[in-house]
Subunit: 207 residues, 2 copies
């Protein structure tokens, strides 16, 4: 498949959310105009985004809500369960381990790790915090798909290297660091301080 | 000032981080090549990003680390304190209220709000959780700059409307909803489920 832009993937996620609302509301067909309006975009954009993945909808009849939702879940890989491990049993890690929204979308937290003797063996939302030194051994057996990093910048690259060596294929990082992964590993960064800085920029440069 | 792309602002944030590391390491000059290498970009990109904000550096001599860092802090609006309020005293809100990284960058949490009687009056990292019904009254007196939303999607738009009416000019939202704000208000969305979905997409569509 050709390269799909990050912005397209985001819009697909959004379309799927709207379609699921329509499904729940008992609406069976939807036009690209309606999807566009709901998502703050244009119907041409909706059609273009969907065209990457084949042909959907019938001219003049719109899309079958359930069919399109199913297809999008398939495209996004949401028809299955992804095993998630959380690295870092601090406040953010703890909040994420307890976050119900993940499981609803098929993301199952299977373990929480930390390197601190104060944390290892403690309980986090029903998980006994594991020693990060056992990561590689556990990963061989449990084959986690996604690692969520909620650790400080210091040492984050080393942890990522270990994760990659253990066969992890996707990383969502909250560590305020530029991490390097091989091209076969997907990496997403969430940096709250940088998001706030972008707001600070906007506030400073508003007219 | 002309419109600056979000991606440029992100890179400026990164350059500033690197410059601050150089400052701490006692390095006084840096070339665009060095900044580029550190940030995984090209020196032409570094020069272009900085050129939006005037002329920096001397040909063949590179940039004065301290001078450029100072100028970037100014550009990003980081030379001052921004007052932040957190709406939602759940797990994420609590984690953010306690997050030291914000204060280090000049983002001071001044209050935490919630609508639940179970939460109002309780303590969150030293803050007494306030009743969201007092938001407008408090905002008139305290003039917060940025609101961080850690509430469910339901009701989020109503809270945003109230925030906007109270004079807030920037919102960082963790609510999994498409929020509408007037063009004078800066809005950033952090949607962890959507970030995970983008990883799920990558995992599903990897070769």
């Amino acid at each position: 498949m050709r390269h799909i832009a990050e912005s397209t993937i985001r819009r697909l996620s959004l379309y799927l959310r709207f379609l699921e609302e329509f499904e729940q509301g008992g609406i069976s067909t939807v036009s690209s105009e309606e999807l566009a309006q709901r998502g703050g975009t244009t119907s041409a954009q909706v059609r273009k985004d969907l065209s990457f993945f084949g042909s959907f909808g019938k001219r003049g009849l719109g899309y079958d809500v359930h069919e399109l939702a199913e297809r999008l879940r398939q495209i996004m890989g949401l028809g299955r369960e992804w095993k998630v491990i959380i690295i870092g049993a601090g406040k953010i890690g703890t909040a994420l381990a307890a976050y119900r929204g993940f499981r609803e979308r098929g993301f199952s937290v299977i373990a929480v790790y930390d390197s601190s003797p104060d944390k290892i063996g403690g309980k986090v939302d029903g998980f006994t915090v594991r020693d990060i030194r056992n990561l590689s051994r556990d990963a061989q057996r449990e084959k986690p798909d996604i690692a969520v990093l909620t650790i400080p910048a210091e040492g984050a690259q080393e942890v990522v290297d270990r994760l990659v060596a253990s066969g992890i294929r996707a990383v969502l990082s909250f560590a305020p660091a530029q991490l390097q992964v091989p091209p076969t590993v997907a990496l997403k960064n969430m940096n709250m301080a940088m998001e706030l800085e972008s707001l600070s920029f906007a506030l400073t440069n508003q007219d």
